[in-house]
Symmetry: D2
Subunit: 215 residues, 4 copies
């Protein structure tokens, strides 16, 4: 089995992206699956093209995209991606779309086809805080998750795909009071656990476990 | 013009629902529009039936549903509702669906058809904190927003519809340390401003204004 | 009985100080006590001189100083003032002392001599969130509380004195996401309840009630 | 040079105390100073007796006590300890003092005699979030800091002493949503940096650097 794991480069004035650094730390094989790593630019659409090219070349069995969510306390597999770009800040090539559809012929939203509840359980069992998130925002992270699922539907035979947001690492918050952080080692440990769950539940139903929020 | 404004009764151990109390305080006419108020039960599907019956009877030009988001700092018009119930707590009739579609033949998500950016601007101009929210959660609030938009599409000639989440009021957080609150008067003031924006932008495009989040 | 209630003018780029605005809303008589209101400048030492002059003139039975604590969720009577100025920002006359004693011959700290636990209970009973705070910071608020207690000890026959911090009001946080606020009416209601407790417990022991923190 | 580093055992339902675990990870020699480690019980007064016995035996040049501050985002050297116990929860021997002086003949407060600003700078330079804290609470952490400084004054020839609070570690917050954590390795790295600063500034003035708060 082959899993394509894509992570963004740094953005928003940060020198590094913990998502990318953690993906670099992943083993090349996890739970018997080959891990193919890919760096993608923090740019609307160009990120998706980079992912598409690699996916068509590698022909993975699953795709996991990873991005930074500065301010979150836990590793958060995303439940859903919505068909809308609404950039609070410019991307790395100064695009700042406001309330624009990502794909004219795409669904209003795609639900992750990865076992997000099992992933959360597995990450927590590894001693790392995790939770399902119900919004990937409206910037490039939601964009790439949407694009990955659109791509899977249109060109990749509906392979399973999804997205995980990870917190800042401590170095990033030294001058950001009251911002949570997680060590790179714990992020990598959490991503490894998530990938193990993906392999274990590949082609199977996700576990039924409470993971929603009242708002 | 007629606007149906629906709000939930109390749930989750709370004695009141600030959404409902604030809606009761609204004037019967706002910006020339007649405001029709409706209390709906905090129950999956039954809430939607109550809304449907009233809407078919009243034939409103727009629908605004309002619910409590304990822990939020601002009044938050919701951008999107997703086709999924995932209840962290039981509803008021002890239903607790986990990862279940709301409507088998519904879209994966519906975007609010209300001018959410204009509503946020108008609420803030009234001196009340407001922001677009990108997730209404996976409980009855997301449920009723989804159902309202589904109903509008299927039976109400695509009238505009959407949802607003409001914070706790001070009385509710007296014994909940570090939880934000907003006075009932400010919530009612904010909802009034939102309704004014709905009337002003009825049938028109929303304003183009940054209102997204990076995650 | 006469109570001198002093509040700071605005600082730190804010147009108003909710402490001062709320004090202006107080009745001139509360629980039988005459309320003498005083505006003090947000300036190290000068604030204390203003307070001292008024106190020597008015000869109050108690002193309550009130200041803004932007970011707090509740009305917080302070437990203790420490003999140290350490300004994160300049005061309104550009003084920015760092790690300097307030009074060379003063105690390292003064505990509030007001019934802070009873005040918290009374504020909460009025439906307004409240808690004891164990630090008034190291800016002018801690400074004036220290000075008020020093003054009471040295020149005012040990009359009871203390300090209350109040949150931002909604107008102040319209463009400050995730910052809690409290309406001016609720702040005034809370201060009134605190003053009632001060009158009721004047000269008596405070109630014994848990109000500490583990850190 | 010899430094006595004391840390509390676990309390409040937690299985471990990250303070103690991190202290165990410290090297036996840091910046040329011998590090003498001591576990102290989370019990009012008994903790102080344990510290006193060890200090009289070891005759350290400095004392650093370390405790857990669940909910804090950073490593926080404490500025001041106050002469008051006010326990929100019982200690490990079910004592729960409310508003009681720690030492009848003690000062109202003791300021840390460690170079807290230099310690914060050094911890941050090591890539670990840190800040001065202005309150150690009113539980055993404030108690032991107060007792250590009282002891230093009364029986240890005024050697330098102080206290550092450390955050939860990730394992502790797996089921505590929205609670920050720091890895044990980063806590140990931060404590090491703090001890290096203590050695470097031993007997010297602390640096003059902004480190206060407005409240």
């Amino acid at each position: 089995m082959k899993i394509l794991v894509a992570a963004f480069d740094s953005f928003g004035g940060e020198k590094i992206n913990p998502a990318l650094e953690a993906v670099k730390l992943l083993a090349d094989e996890i739970a018997g699956a080959e891990i193919v790593k890919l760096e993608i630019p923090t740019v609307f659409h160009k990120s998706a093209e980079t992912l598409r090219e690699k996916a068509l070349e590698v022909k993975p069995d699953m795709i996991l995209c990873v991005g930074q969510a500065g301010g979150r306390f836990a590793i958060t597999p995303e439940r859903v991606a919505i068909n809308q770009d609404d950039a609070r800040i410019p991307d790395n090539e100064d695009n700042q779309p406001i309330d624009v559809s990502i794909q004219e012929d795409g669904a209003p939203a795609y639900f992750a086809t990865l076992p997000i509840k099992a992933m959360v359980e597995k990450i927590k069992a590894a001693g790392v805080p995790a939770a399902v998130s119900n919004s990937a925002g409206t910037f490039v992270c939601n964009h790439i998750m949407y694009q990955a699922l659109y791509l899977a539907e249109k060109e990749l035979d509906n392979i399973q795909a999804g997205f995980i947001h990870v917190p800042f690492i401590p170095e990033q918050v030294v001058d950001k009071p009251e911002k949570p952080a997680m060590s790179l080692e714990d992020i990598a440990k959490g991503l490894t656990a998530a990938l193990e769950a993906m392999v274990e539940y590949h082609g199977k139903e996700d576990i039924k476990k409470i993971g929603g929020t009242t708002h």
